[in-house]
Amino acid sequence: MNKVKQVLDKVLIVFSSLLLVSMVVMSTWQVLSRYVFNISSPGTEELIRYMLIWFGLMSAAYVFGAKKHIGILFIREKFSPKVQLQIEFITDVIVLLTAAILMVYGGIRIVMLTSAQTAAATGLSMGVVYSAILVSGICIIIYQIHSLTSYKERKREVIL
């Protein structure tokens, strides 16, 4: 499971970084093309927006793997290590269920609904845009399963 997480981390980082660089280049290009070459390209902005959706949801999934989504921890930290671990376990299950029901199930439904629609300027299928939430949900589920399977070891550490 650790191996799977490492591979997924890499894939998400590389994919998100590429999107980020492309968005920087394309946004700068938009300024240049407007002033230097006097052409406006409505397709560029639409494409950047869709890339941002993918970037946002993929990097959000990565942050679940890195456990860096902010929460209010100072109350939880008042409990004993054993109870803290139990609360963390339950939280992980809640995140898993949210990803499965809302992002994967909801994502599949929304992709099916929108796959026939196309974007105004680029002609891209809206299903491609909306599948970001589905893919992000699947990644989050993998991360949560990885986290949940590591509890046995962590429990042993707490007891020792």
């Binding site: 998400l12 980082i13 998100s16 970084s17 980020l20 968005m23 920087v24 946004s27 700068t28 938009q30 300024v31 002033y35 902005e45 950047i48 927006r49 869709y50 941002l52 959706i53 970037f55 946002g56 949801l57 993929m58 990097s59 959000a60 999934a61 990565y62 942050v63 679940f64 890195a66 860096k68 989504h69 902010i70 929460g71 209010i72 921890l73 100072f74 109350i75 939880r76 609360i87 963390e88 339950i90 939280t91 809640i94 995140v95 949210t98 029901i101 809302l102 992002m103 199930y105 909801g106 994502g107 439904r109 929304i110 609904l113 845009v129 909306y130 970001a132 939430i133």
Partner: protein, 431 residues
């Protein structure tokens, strides 16, 4: 019906929050539960999933990852050091000069790096040894650093203001950026006033000013870093480019500057990307969660319910603003700025607008009020970083921080009750 929906929303939210669930998940689940209460399962799930995608579908939002990226690239010792020297030229004649240098350094570097944590760390690392050398107490130097670090969050370019622009329904980023200058600088000046009197009391030395030749060199070498602000803010305010395009220009500029300064190595690239992805993945997910939250709120007419509840306590607008300030300060102590802005703007903005408060003015009030939490326990991030770089304990610094806390709240009251502080510059530039 509304009452029950409201109860479901807030009880689920606070329950998840207290047990340390990610704030975004707490927002999403409480919203979905509230939807499930009035809508069939499939409709609720479908609407929520769709909202989570359309919640990020906004060109302005791209400015956030781009400003974060450029801030991380600019966050290196070389640029921080040049700005410290520049700050020293500006304020080096005051008693406790190094403390003032630290405060001005935070205002400059904080606005460029866009992060109070990065700024407190960079300034603390440079300034603490210098101040200790001149016999300043550690608690004094750490307190100045901590109290002035959040100014960079309000002085533009500022991601918090972009977040507010999005959640307030598209308030102009250019206007918010201009509005941020006076409150942010007033915060910094207030810190310097306290530092001045404390330094006088302790008889801290005035450092020697650099020679005219050195001064010239220092100013020239700070110009390229400061030019970033001029180009980006100038371009946005003049309408040459949008906030997002300005952020892209900031990225390109900071890359070029780092290459010229030889601070940029290819092997640093993965770390830069990972840090950007971690910060923005968190922020964007919060934004999309709050898009769902505000949809549920408006569907259930909760802002109206809350504002009539507030108005039933008092219909005096100053009284209501004071209540809002109190809640902001309270929330700021335990919640980070971005989620707090996302959660409380849709709740309080309609109330404020009902008695004619300008959204730009309200944006300053909410962002300023919540930023104060950055320097207070139990979760103030500037406090933690400032203490750890100065190697002092939090409980040792807190007594010295109290007067700073007091003056910053005074400035907050000024910002709240004198609209011109926020609106003068945007109006001057016709925004």
């Amino acid at each position: 019906m509304e009452t029950i929906a409201g109860i479901i929303l807030f009880v689920t939210f606070f329950f998840l929050l207290l047990f340390g669930a990610p704030i975004a998940i707490a927002i999403i689940l409480s919203s979905v539960f509230t939807f499930l209460f009035v809508l069939p399962f499939d409709v609720a799930i479908l609407t929520s999933a769709q909202r989570m995608v359309t919640g990020i579908d906004n060109f302005t939002m791209l400015a956030i990852p781009l400003f974060v990226l450029s801030g991380i690239i600019m966050n290196n010792g070389g640029i921080a050091f040049r700005l410290v020297n520049f700050a020293k030229v500006l304020v080096g004649k005051l008693p406790g000069s190094l403390a003032h240098t630290n405060a001005v350094g935070n205002m400059l570097f904080g606005s460029i790096s866009g992060s109070s944590v990065a700024s407190a760390a960079a300034m603390g690392r440079i300034m603490t040894p210098m101040q200790t050398n001149q016999g300043y107490k550690l608690t004094y130097s750490a307190a100045v650093n901590i109290a002035s670090a959040p100014t960079g969050l309000i002085i533009p370019p500022s991601s918090v203001l972009i977040v507010y622009s999005l959640v307030s329904g598209g308030t102009s980023v250019a206007a918010l950026f201009m509005a941020g200058y006076i409150p942010g600088i007033l915060w910094g000046l207030a810190v310097m006033v306290v530092a001045y009197f404390m330094a006088k009391k302790e008889n801290y030395p005035v450092s020697k000013l650099p020679s005219a030749k050195d001064t010239f060199y220092i100013i020239v070498s700070a110009i390229p870093s400061l030019l970033l602000i001029v180009i980006v803010i100038g371009g946005i305010v003049a309408g040459i480019f949008t906030a997002t395009e300005g952020a892209a220009v900031a990225v390109i500029y900071s890359v070029i500057l780092s290459i010229i300064y030889k601070n940029f190595k290819l092997k640093d690239l993965p770390a830069i990307f990972i840090e950007t992805i971690e910060i923005t993945g968190m922020i964007l997910f919060l934004i999309t969660a709050s898009a769902l939250f505000s949809l549920v709120m408006s569907y259930m007419k909760l802002p109206e319910a809350i504002s009539s509840a507030l108005l039933s306590i008092t219909d005096n607008q100053y009284g209501i603003i004071l209540i809002i300030i109190f809640i902001l300060l309270l929330v700021g102590t335990f919640m980070d700025i971005t989620p707090a802005v996302l959660i409380f703007t849709p709740i309080f903005l309609p109330v404020a607008q009902s008695f004619g408060m300008d959204p730009i003015h309200f944006g300053m009030l909410i962002c300023f009020g919540l930023c104060i939490g950055n320097m207070t326990p139990p979760v103030g991030s500037a406090l933690f970083v400032g203490c750890s770089v100065a190697k002092v304990k939090i409980e040792e610094v807190v007594p010295t921080l109290l007067p700073y806390f007091g003056v910053v709240i005074l400035v907050l009251l000024l910002v709240a009750f004198v609209p011109q502080i926020s609106l003068f510059l945007p109006q001057l530039f016709g925004l």
